[in-house]
């Protein structure tokens, strides 16, 4: 019998440190968890008695709900902290917050923070396993994992696929984690966006850079559109929403440049008429809502794998 790879890490901080084998293990485990959502009783007792803290220093609805649902389906007790109206916004230092949390003896902490590296710092200080749910513009590993899971579902593999990621490349943690993961698993990734949204040393990401949507999506298997962060509009990265849509919006016409069976993805929340037209978002090739459903299965897999890491070595 082939020795199966087992999960050894206490934390999931980023895609950067994962091996292809570990990524595959998470995806395989998620495949098994997907079935739980189809049962009459969508809950398993696996994490009974475990406590998970959801610590969101930055507002988030979908990622937090997705984690919370995953925790509930595994029977863990979850506790939510968000910045508004808590000590997190009352000037307490991060270390003090961390020590306070430690005193509550959680088994796992899910954290989102506006500054890169905060989950890593907490992971070193805390006994609990730490899951990075987005740290600044650095990484968002569970998003990349659920995207990969969705791609495998439709294409059967990642290796050898051509994938385009289009939008605000510079400010997106989703891009970083996705490029790292997809290239580790053998895909050929192209990133594209207006020059004001492309990082200076874009090649160091490990992807090919393109400066027009047409150039990026020609012949690809997967088109991943990113949300234009309208709240960042004050930085004047592009002249107007209409101009952005005219140049970088994914329309049905432009999608014809991709392979005929190409799928369209979006991490959400999407701005219709900005980065994507409604007919594409609602079209038959769009897998955007599947991404949401898969997010729960992938997060269940991550919670399950990490929850065993602290225990004694058994048989």
């Amino acid at each position: 019998m082939v020795a199966e790879l087992r999960w050894q890490r206490k934390d999931l901080l980023g895609i950067a440190e994962l091996t292809p084998g570990e990524i595959q293990l998470i995806l395989d485990t998620a495949e098994s968890f997907r079935e739980v959502a189809e049962r009459p009783i969508k809950k398993v007792p696996t994490l009974r008695g475990k406590t998970v803290l959801n610590l969101f220093f930055e507002s988030s609805t979908r990622t937090r709900s997705s984690f919370e649902l995953a925790e509930k389906r595994l029977s863990a007790d979850s506790l939510n902290f968000s910045t508004s109206g808590s000590s997190l916004s009352k000037g307490e230092s991060l270390i003090d917050t961390a020590l306070t949390l430690q005193a509550m003896a959680p088994d796992l902490i899910v954290i989102r923070h506006m500054h890169p590296g905060v989950p890593h710092m907490l992971a070193r200080r805390l006994e609990a396993g730490v899951i990075n749910a987005g740290d600044g513009a650095h990484e968002h590993p569970t998003q990349a994992l659920l995207d990969a899971f969705t791609i495998v579902q439709h294409k059967g593999r990642i290796e050898g696929l051509k994938i385009a990621i289009v939008g605000d490349i510079e400010h997106s943690r989703v891009v970083r984690s996705n490029v790292l993961l997809l290239s580790k698993m053998g895909a050929e990734v192209t990133v594209a966006g207006p020059r004001t949204m492309m990082p200076v040393a874009v090649e160091t990401l490990g992807a090919r850079a393109a400066y027009s949507l047409e150039d990026a999506i020609r012949g690809v298997d997967v088109v991943m559109m990113l949300r234009v962060q309208l709240e960042r509009q004050s930085k004047l990265l592009f002249p107007s929403i209409r101009e952005y849509f005219n140049l970088f919006g994914l329309t049905r016409e432009r999608l014809k440049l991709a392979k005929r069976n190409a799928i369209v993805m979006h991490p959400g929340p999407m701005n219709r008429g900005v980065e994507i037209s409604s007919d594409v978002a609602d079209g038959t090739t769009s897998v955007i809502l599947e991404q949401v459903a898969n997010g729960v299965a992938v997060r269940m897999a991550v919670l399950y794998l990490l929850s065993g890491a602290g225990a004694e070595e058994g048989e």
Binding site: A3, E4, R6, W7, Q8, L25, D28, T29, E31, S32, F33, E35, V36, R39, P40, I41, K43, V44, P45, T46, G49, A301, Y304, L305, S307, G308, A309, G310, A311, E312, E313, G314, E315
Partner: protein, 184 residues
Amino acid sequence: MPKTLKLKRSLMDAQQMNRVIQRMAGQIVERNADLGQLLLVGIRTRGVPLAERLRGEIKRLEGIEVPLGILDITLYRDDLSTIAPQPVVKATHIPESIEEHTLMLCDDVLYTGRTVRAALDALVDFGRPRAVQLAVMIDRGHRELPIQADVVGRTVQTLDNEVIEVKFESTDGADRVDLMERLD
């Protein structure tokens, strides 16, 4: 990690195993007058090939194709908090609603009974079956829970340091049951 096992003695060869499976299938048919309500459920991993073989025999005997489900009990284990790292979870697949069905749980070896306990918990999450029965290839004793099988291939007296290995042609290349001794 992987323990060293030494063969102590062979319990069944392919021919004996085949005969035992035929007899078990006959007993399952005898116990279940209405085969249309029966659903075989193999417990991963070696309960699955056993369930497949039983299904084949039932088809041969009665001409009826009984549906077959696959159950992974990992998420229901009672020792998850004491073992590390986490065991690999494989997919569960129950082909139809279990309500109004009689389920025949199939596993290769019945030992402490904890696997069957976990399987019963898992099944309840799929609905309320009319009845659940248990078929095992080998009952080796040492129960830690009040659980017993309805259909047994063979009962074997064993020691704590012994391991029963049931192998199937479809998964291991040959039909065989061996009594192994753990060296550690």
